[in-house]
Amino acid sequence: MANGVLKFLTSAVFSVTAMVSAAQAGESIVLASTTSTEQSGLFNFILPIFEKSSGIAVKVVALGTGQALDVGKRGDADVLLVHDRAAEDKFVAEGYGVERKDVMYNDFVLVGPAADAAGVKGAKDTADAFGRIAKKGSNWVSRGDRSGTHAAELRFWGSAGVDVKGQGWYKEAGAGMGPTLNMAAGMGAYTLADRGTWASFKNRQDLTIVYAGDPKLYNPYGVMLVNPARHPHVKKAAGEKFIAWITSPDGRRAISAYKIGNEQLFYPLSR
């Protein structure tokens, strides 16, 4: 019997080694990115194109922008693709990242119950829309997770002159975009979403876009390599290859080509 156990053990350990090495057979990089890009399905569409041309596998870890930057700071990712310009610039300035590059943009949309009790649909600009929700005291679900969307939302409240701290109608989900939308749908609340996640989100119930289109709702994504000087194990060559590709004409074409229904979700930024 001891013999059988031994045989089983060896084969089990062998199989996990095989499993791990299979995953690492080709070259691969870890890309820390946002839930919005992952959940919109963009990566599932464009990464196979890159992998095919370069032979480099991209492993996406989807987090909030804040978390993704933390992961980069700790050296646990090779490349970051996030959307919070102020935090990105700080990240590079502090020496954690190398040269931020524009990749693409989409826009934020204000979603809420179709009945639109706060009358956001008639707002003249973004600040006005946020102001109407605060004035009416309609339920609002915030990401509350230091993500790029969360940072943008807080900027909009600021521009509307609203202090959301301690407001009964203001709920912090502390969750990714999807769970936040699930909550908003369940409560019939308003929330701010990126267009990509919204477009691929299925459990909408009564939610609809109540306000969109203001240039202020512009949501740019940037890409950067984690600083190899700080973290020597960072896969510099492969990471740079990915950054070069996603900002190249080929990469831009791939981004433009991703559609849900007939709707294009991300727009490449040409340099």
Binding site: Q39, K59, A175
Partner: protein, 234 residues
């Protein structure tokens, strides 16, 4: 209600279609959790058995600690293992974060206390039965542990199944240390969490049904094995 019935009908069509991707995810789940339980068996069961037989100062504190750790939130285990395996952590040089190995390590930490606590109870009960016989035969306590582990092997299957259930169903630890990377570290629970956050509740429930089916199947196999063994050595 309509949503729920829709979800289940989708679950069955998914099962009937035997999606290749789903099969990959199921396989990885089984490999990761299976290995974690294997290590849990090698570490947790002897550890629990030693606590069940041994009489030393501090033993009761250890028992209480162990029983408490059964309820350790998987997220906490995930964060701790993350900090250990992170490039900036003590074991960072091995670059294990966001790999299947990291998930096995985290789940091992998760199941060891659970399996040890169950083993402690089982072996302690058996020890009460055999203590005089084994002591009269001049077994040293460590050899008694070995005898009892072997003698309780059928009851200890419960500990193994509990460990497997916990490992297969936890999401917190594998999400943090594995990163839920497509085709690399995505297991059943993290896939379910992802589909839920995408608002694709039918697919989430479909995957949940598959997970439940896998766990039920494993339990059924264990039950049959145990029945057979009990008939043999009742």
């Amino acid at each position: 209600m309509n949503g729920l019935s829709l979800a289940f009908s989708e679950a069955f069509s998914l099962l009937a279609g035997f999606d290749h991707r789903v099969a990959e995810i199921v396989l990885l789940s089984l490999q990761v959790s299976g290995l974690a339980v294997l290590f849990g068996t090698l570490i947790g069961l002897p550890l629990g058995a030693c606590l069940g037989v041994g009489r030393f100062p501090g033993r009761q504190v250890l028992v209480v600690l162990l029983n408490g750790c059964m309820g350790l939130p998987s997220v906490v285990v995930g964060v701790v293992v993350y900090l250990i395996l992170s490039r900036s952590g003590p074991l960072g040089e091995f670059g294990l974060l966001y790999s299947a190995t990291a998930m096995v390590i985290a789940q091992t930490f998760l199941v060891v206390p659970l399996m040890a606590a169950i083993a402690r109870q089982v072996v302690e009960d058996a020890w009460r039965d055999y203590e005089e016989e084994l002591t009269a035969m001049r077994f040293r306590w460590f050899d008694s542990v070995r005898v009892l582990l072997h003698d309780c092997r059928h009851s200890l299957m419960v500990a193994v199944l509990a460990g497997l259930g916990r490992a297969m169903s936890e999401v917190g630890a594998v999400m943090i240390v594995g990163g839920n990377i497509d085709r690399s570290t995505r297991v059943m629970t993290t896939a379910i969490a992802l589909e839920t956050s995408k608002g694709d509740l039918p697919l989430a429930i479909a995957l949940g049904t598959v997970l439940l089916g896998v766990i039920l199947l494993l339990n059924a196999v264990a039950y049959v094995l145990r029945q057979w063994a009990t008939r043999r050595y009742a």
